[in-house]
């Protein structure tokens, strides 16, 4: 009887030890994953429409475009940079042409931006021909506008007062609108 009791006690102790050993946590070594997320500078520009018509009157200073165009510029950038929106032609002397040698220069083409004065495209800007452009908007990127959206509502006019001998014809051209962050 005494041996039986001793056997039972020993067995219980062994079981307890086994249960205790099974509850211990076993960990692997730590494996690291390096994270590198880059948010690049970006800038996009979209236009509300891509076509403007003009019915010209010979010698008239006021020949308005058939419609205004809104340029919407969206950027993600860093403080200290400048965001600008530029309008330009590829040539100052022939912004619009009849294809037969008669041209309307960029200096006769003007833009009113967001209700401002009409100003001719007679400056040299980052894009296009020399003396064939105009900066229509610029803003310094700060901590407040690292991500921004801006709208430029443009109206157009062709001034023929300095071109009284322009012959009748259909004059076509391409005005480019482009944004830059630098």
């Amino acid at each position: 009887m005494k041996s039986l009791i001793q056997f039972v006690v020993c067995s219980s102790l062994l079981l307890l030890c086994a249960v205790s050993a099974g509850a211990q946590v076993v960990n692997s070594g730590v494996q690291t994953v390096s994270l590198n997320a880059t948010l690049n500078d970006s800038i996009t520009l979209t236009l509300s429409s891509n076509s403007v018509s003009f019915l010209l009157t010979a010698g008239s200073a006021t020949n308005s475009g058939s419609t205004g165009v809104t340029a919407t510029t969206t950027w993600v950038s860093r403080p200290g940079k400048d965001v600008s929106v530029l309008a330009y032609f590829s040539s100052a002397t022939s912004a619009l042409s009849d294809g037969g040698g008669s041209n309307i220069p960029s200096s006769a083409f003007s833009i009113s931006n967001n209700g401002g004065a009409f100003l001719p495209l007679s400056n040299t800007v980052a894009f296009g021909g020399a003396n064939a452009g105009r900066q229509i908007f610029t803003v310094k990127v700060t901590g407040q506008n690292k991500t921004g959206t801006h709208a430029d509502n443009m109206l157009f006019n062709i001034d023929l007062s300095a071109l009284p001998q322009l012959p009748a014809g259909t004059y076509t051209g391409t005005l480019n609108i482009q944004a830059q962050v630098i």
Partner: protein, 189 residues
């Protein structure tokens, strides 16, 4: 000495890295160029306006000189396409035989009606021009179009006379003679 070389290497590398960083940050980022197609139409036009539309004559039988009551100035304006070579202004009647008529068979022919244009000689309307009847007109103007006058405006100051001295006109009966003189411009070709 060895320490100094290491310091210099570090300084140079730092400067290079700073330069690259500055270069990278100075790069401009551009949006795509968005085009706006422009289409401007300057329509071709030709117009002629008169300073007045009525002239009276008090005729003297057989007289070569029966001046109109007033002169009339024709103002011609045009905007033309390249390729046009001339603008003409013509004066004409619908009939050479009956430029003016009393309505009962007595007529004053166009050959008896004369125009002096811009101080020039008084000339009878006996030519065939672009408009009107044969031998019933007079070309007041023929202006060549060059690169300098595709858009222009000119004036023709006309004075009028009826010559009743020729042919059977000295026998013209007393009456009121009416007629319509037309003035019209044309760009050619």
């Amino acid at each position: 000495m060895f320490h100094n070389v290491r310091v210099m290497r570090f300084a140079v590398l730092t400067l290079v890295l700073l330069g690259l960083t500055a270069f990278a940050s100075a790069q401009a980022i551009n949006s795509g160029a968005q085009p706006i197609t422009l289409n401007a139409t300057l329509a071709e036009s030709l117009s002629l306006n008169l300073s007045a539309n009525a002239v009276n004559f008090t005729l003297a039988a057989g007289s070569a000189t029966n001046a109109g009551s007033t002169g009339i100035t024709a103002t011609t304006s045009w905007v033309l396409k390249p390729g046009r070579t001339a603008v003409t202004v013509d004066a004409y009647f619908g009939s050479a035989a009956a430029a003016l008529t009393d309505g009962t068979g007595n007529n004053i022919p166009s050959s008896a009606f004369k125009i002096s244009n811009n101080g020039g000689a008084s000339t009878a309307l006996t030519n065939t021009v672009a408009f009107g009847a044969a031998n019933a007109g007079f070309r007041l103007r023929n202006t060549a179009i060059t690169g300098a006058n595709k858009t222009a405006q000119v004036t023709d100051a006309m004075t009028f006379n009826i010559d009743l001295s020729g042919g059977t006109l000295p026998q013209l009966p007393a009456a009121t003679y009416t007629g319509t003189l037309n003035i019209q411009a044309q760009a050619t070709p």
